[in-house]
Symmetry: C2
Subunit: 319 residues, 2 copies
């Protein structure tokens, strides 16, 4: 049997799991990142964590074939170098090489959203679909593109920036500097902004009952208010779903994947989000839905997607 | 030596060439399509044309390894079936099989824009670039996506509909029924519409001198007027270039290709189009232009792109 270590590097924690060839996690654990330390120390901690977990799982040293790391930021996966990671304050960090040296097995690095996409494709909600696009609705809109079961990253891994595809040129300002990006309309942050705007205009809305302190609005707020039959919440969600459908339909028309996987906190809304979303996106699919439909499914691996995907990335890269 | 037939099927003509392994055309010719005939007759004509050309080029029968066809419409390239082609009034036509039977070599079919994209990638303006996106600015906005030297078509070849990615949701009506598609802003048709609108609003513009009959406006008109220093033409082009840049930047951010190839009549404008376009698109590239730049180049094979690409598609598919 062959095993792979999957590492999910975050600004706060390093999560790690030992994963088998089928994507099952044997053991997992996490340690603090301590992100202000030199990267060499972080790499050494990663290697030690992998060794400890492999031992606790009773894996023979020779059966651990490789390790994969999902890292925030822009990652040159061919070289194992983190080009730029804002939340770690890293620039051109050769993390893959450092961990490989400490661990004694090949190490492969990709972006964290890519790793999650690969995890969902290999062992999660998109299992069985040849090609899929993973879209997370969080602070921003991130994602990963899986074609024929493999990550598609673009030249120097700089592609798959699906949040930074405009859907309304000249529209809302995006954090990237462009106006009208998908992210500026469809992230959880955007939904919160849209909800707050609606609350200010509608002092009688049940949104205020659900969340009396406007600063506490989150992605759940409008869906909670919707359940009380609130018209303002209904309008907010309808509009948000329209933007989300436009972006997903763009991805569907350009990639025509076998499935789209949605992740991120907003998905907790379940059918209240999914049903109108499917309906709207299907109306925007070029050529209709009969010939090559694009189902929308909800991510199923949760916080484990990144480490399962990182392990599978190592499996694909090392063989 | 191995040779391949490349066939470019159009509503008016069937163009065909015998192409070597390097993408050089040995001989080429065209015959009328006669599109209202049964497809079996058209297939027989194609096979006869290929045989005649192969003979005139002095190719041994055994050296002609396969034929490729670029067809309008939606094509299931795995099956060689034209699913739907509006201008031929075809539905589910098994063209590949029919030509293969008549010709006695394997025949592979893809969409005509895809074939042109592959031609430009293999032997034209994108030669040497691993991945490229071909964008034609014509009646619509068509295109093809080349990843690692191969066509990317999406599930059942239904992807790569780059003209039907919205860049301004809720905006201009597109022929596909959606509002705000790239095609509705960046096709030659859109440029003509934008030019006419500007002429109606500006009776003193030199656009009227360049083209006194507004019904005769074409994609060249605004560029001709620009040369006389006309401010209205300048504004029309500036706006058009802005839309075009938004769509190309979307493709660049999502695919991060090694190059974008522009084709279609509008490109005749040359630097008057390209210079501002490059400048604007570069400003919209996620992460800037230093790490993974996306050069924009002009298609170089002209009308031969389709048949060179169809032949190369056969070469890749048959080996």
């Amino acid at each position: 049997m062959k095993y792979y270590a999957g590492i999910d590097l975050g600004g706060t924690f390093i999560k790690c799991g030992i994963v088998d060839e089928k994507g099952n996690i044997l053991v997992k654990d996490q340690i603090p990142t301590g992100k202000d330390r030199p990267y060499e120390e972080i790499a050494a901690d990663m290697a030690a964590l992998v060794r400890r977990l492999a031992e606790s799982a009773g894996i023979e040293e020779s059966d651990l074939r490789a390790a994969g790391i999902g890292s925030p930021g822009t990652v040159n996966s061919k070289k194992g170098v983190i080009i730029y990671a804002n939340n770690l304050q890293w620039k051109n960090v050769p993390l893959g090489g450092a961990v490989a040296e400490a661990l004694g097995v090949p190490v492969f690095v990709t972006n964290d959203a890519n790793a999650a996409a690969l995890g969902e494709s290999f062992a999660g909600a998109a299992k069985g679909y040849e090609s899929s696009i993973f879209v997370t609705l969080g602070t921003g809109v991130g994602g990963g593109i899986i074609l024929d079961g493999k990550l598609f990253e673009g030249n120097r891994s700089a592609g798959a920036e699906i949040g930074h595809m405009v859907i309304r040129a000249g529209g809302e300002k995006c954090t990237c500097g462009r106006r009208g990006c998908f992210e500026a309309y469809a992230s959880a942050t955007a939904l919160i902004r849209q909800t707050k705007e609606a609350m200010k205009k509608n002092p009688g809305s049940a949104l205020w009952k659900v969340c009396p302190d406007i600063e506490q609005v989150n992605g759940k707020t409008p869906f909670d208010a919707l359940q009380t039959g609130d018209k303002t919440a209904e309008r907010v969600i309808k509009k948000y779903v329209t933007w989300l459908a436009e972006g997903l339909a763009n991805l569907a028309n350009v990639f025509r994947p076998n499935a789209i996987v949605l992740g991120g906190g907003v998905c907790a809304a379940g059918d209240a989000l999914l049903e109108p979303l499917r309906r709207k996106m299907n109306r925007l699919l070029y050529g209709g839905t009969k010939y090559a439909p694009v189902p929308i499914v909800i991510a199923s691996l949760g916080n484990d997607a990144g480490l399962v995907g990182a392990a599978h990335f190592a499996q694909q890269s090392a063989g």
